[in-house]
Amino acid sequence: MDRIRAEINNDRRAFIKKVLNGTIAGSLLLVIPAGASEVAEQLSGMRAEQSIFTKKRFAFIVDVTRCIGCGSCCVADKLEYNVPDGNYRTWVERYIIDDEDNVYVDSPDGGLGGYVEPRKDIPHPVRDTFFVPKLCNMCKKPSCVQVCPVGATFQTEDGFVLIDKERCVGCGYCIQACPYSVRFLNPETKTADKCTWCYHRVRKGLLPACVNVCPVGARKFGDLDDHESEVYKILHLPHVVSVLKPGMGNKPALHYVGLRREVV
């Protein structure tokens, strides 16, 4: 381990090259840096995974019936990634449905400051109101990957759709192509940006930042091949589970519990 770490520090490029060419035994790629391992592992077995792609099937579940719209997730996300103001990798929408079936949706500053004021512009009595957190749907058939002209956005074999900041030319095709509008042009890097389900944390055995900070368990993340995981149990026991815009055929890995049909 120490030798490998020293090697990374000495000559990262050469090291990466060797790893990519598979010359280091077992094609070891992902070496967990010191620090992360001081904290107990939250996703069991992740720290032992050193190959480039895990064999896991990750799923993210948002439970709309629990969300209180506090925006803890939005705050954590902004601070984890230093997201420039006015852009959101994850956000929380407030839905209000009146008894005439009109639907009102708002999301002031993406929910970053929480919801402190009720909406006063609803003309009829409210029938139903709830919060819907949004983030990357991690489609199994991602349209963003298909349209990228330079191979800057891609899907790993374990299902993460990621962006290569070095390759991205900021053309914005992927931003247009995403049916869920989760992508934005980062004004600092001038490249496309979006939620990664905290790939860097997950690979180090930690839950995504938003999942960790949610006080009511409205966000869940785990491995569908682990039959003890909460996500497995939710998806395999009778629950009202659905995905957003199933008709688009993108096959999202992000699932919602208790989603009303008014939500788009």
Partner: protein, 179 residues
Amino acid sequence: MGDNHNTHVKWVVGFLTMAAILGLIVKKVLVPEGFGTYGHYRAGAILDEFNRETRHMTNDSCLSCHPFIKEMHLEGIHRTVSCEFCHGPYGDHIRNGKKVATLPVKKGEEITALCLRCHNQIIRARPKESIKMITMPDHLENKKVQTDHNCDQCHNVHAPLMYVKQAREMMHMSSREDK
């Protein structure tokens, strides 16, 4: 005539060779290392994402250095609320296992604003199964205190029912039924 034809062929062959060489150079320059190793993308991009700094840790990560708060927080009803949401990320406080900077600590009205972000009844979209809510200023008026009282004057921020329970115990000595 034949001579002319030959020169043409030479031109065409020469042109194609040049184009091929140019193409190779362009490819070398434009296609980065590791492109195509796993698919139509640069393999090193996965490593770049992996190496991103982890700024948040977990509630557990705070506890070893804050044993007094640990005791309250773990036993209190706020045990599911994130330390880092109320205080800021680990990465702004600790580096290589040592404290490198202070985290902001809220006071007075800031605390009330923080509590109401989660507990304000006026926001009707909150499911009652998730959280108990209060109406302001009724909550304070019911308790017969002035409405400029801040929440932490009666609720310990790290274990909000601690004082309430203690007070009840003092009032009727035993409160086993509501523990």
